[in-house]
């Protein structure tokens, strides 16, 4: 009558259960939905059917609704009264330009703060991570991994800035989703990897000005790459309905 698969999982990990108290189902559902949304498993702009989501997850609609209420406050979904929620839509080229402008205000400062705040361990971890990703391959899974790599790299820096307001505002923007949807055939990851490495190096050296400048360069060149792709006509601008 309740969630059988979860119960099986609980029996399997019964020892672990004794140590860590089971967290409410809502938190699990929320984590799953956020993950699906961030990974494009929930299509932006699409309507969410609460009952079917609940069935698919093996839970009742109640925790699903609660998770969606959280996600609404996070700006990840948009409530349409009496019509459930839709996944927050992605954007067109003009809005993307505004997004880059916005990030140019914030992320260079975040990188500078990270250069001042990061411990040696954190700095080397960042450098290691920067070198780890960005295969640049063209198949779908590599592309998705590259997107996660990019998002994670920027989030690590935001975290190192020690400013939760800053970090939250970037997470909410979901820049990586917007960028990769509009422009995933260009060799974004391959091109960005050396730029990430440069940013990480400046942070590891504790040089805030160089870190900020490297971040600025990274963002402006990303915007220029996108402009080039659009100018070449490879991508058509999608009308947001």
């Amino acid at each position: 009558m309740e969630h059988p698969d979860l119960i099986d999982a609980m029996n399997a990990t019964q020892a672990a259960q004794r140590l860590t108290a089971r967290q409410p189902l809502v938190d699990d559902v929320h984590a799953v939905l956020v993950d699906m949304l961030m990974n494009h498993a929930l299509e932006p702009g699409s309507r969410l059917n609460i009952d079917s989501m609940a069935r698919n997850l093996g839970v009742s609609p109640t925790p699903v609704r609660e998770a969606l209420a959280r996600m609404e406050a996070q700006g990840l979904v948009v409530k349409e009264p009496r019509r459930s929620y839709i996944v927050a839509p992605l954007i067109g080229l003009e809005d993307l330009r505004a997004l880059i402008d916005f990030r140019l205000l914030i992320e260079p400062a975040a990188a500078a703060a990270a250069a001042l705040n990061a411990s040696p361990d954190e700095a080397t971890a960042l450098q290691t991570f920067a070198r780890s990703g960005g295969s640049g391959d063209q198949d779908a899974t590599s592309n998705r991994l590259d997107m996660v790599y990019d998002a994670t790299f920027h989030d690590i820096i935001a975290k190192l800035s020690n400013n939760s307001w800053l970090r939250e505002s970037l997470l909410r923007a979901r820049s990586h989703l917007h960028m990769y949807r509009l422009y995933h055939h260009a060799k974004q990851a391959a091109a960005t990897k050396p730029e990430h490495v440069a940013i990480a190096r400046a942070i590891a050296q504790g040089d805030p000005d160089a870190a900020a400048e490297a971040m600025r360069t990274h963002l402006t060149t990303a915007m220029r790459r996108i402009d080039d792709v659009f100018a070449s006509g490879e991508l058509k601008l999608q009308k947001p309905r």
Copy 2:
């Protein structure tokens, strides 16, 4: 499909719609709870009893829980698994500093953009509004009106920046709410009005540098005022549990 005349007709009857078409209960509950939280009708740190709140509001626990889930994502309450929620503590000095730092990254740029974008009508409207508010009286209602005045002024500028990301990120931060909660007992010397007027003037003159500088001054003096209040011991620092 959306004929402009039809849309106008809909707007005309929008007031009538609001009477009949009632918005979901969750939204009402959320609004009430946020208001109670701002006015310290919900005391910071106190545990929330979902059932009794539902009884007091004359609704069932379900919409109350949903509203609380939203408020959790907004940082207004803190979830304690299996123990409901507690009201989030008042913002501490360190978080407040981070919030001002964050705004210093964004709002001067917003003011500069507004100086470039604002039409003459919009500029004079902004100036009129800047001069309209900020009574500075000490009673509770005046204090609240001053808060709304301040929040509105900053939001108008964010809107005039023509960058929705920028505006959204400021709205989501809800700085005015946090400040109002801190200064609920009416002690804020509302010296902000002349600073607002100065910002509005620079924007009206179409001078982006002056506008940015005036905004920077406004924010840094606000931070200094806060430091003074904390230093005077009127407000206690929040101990992180």
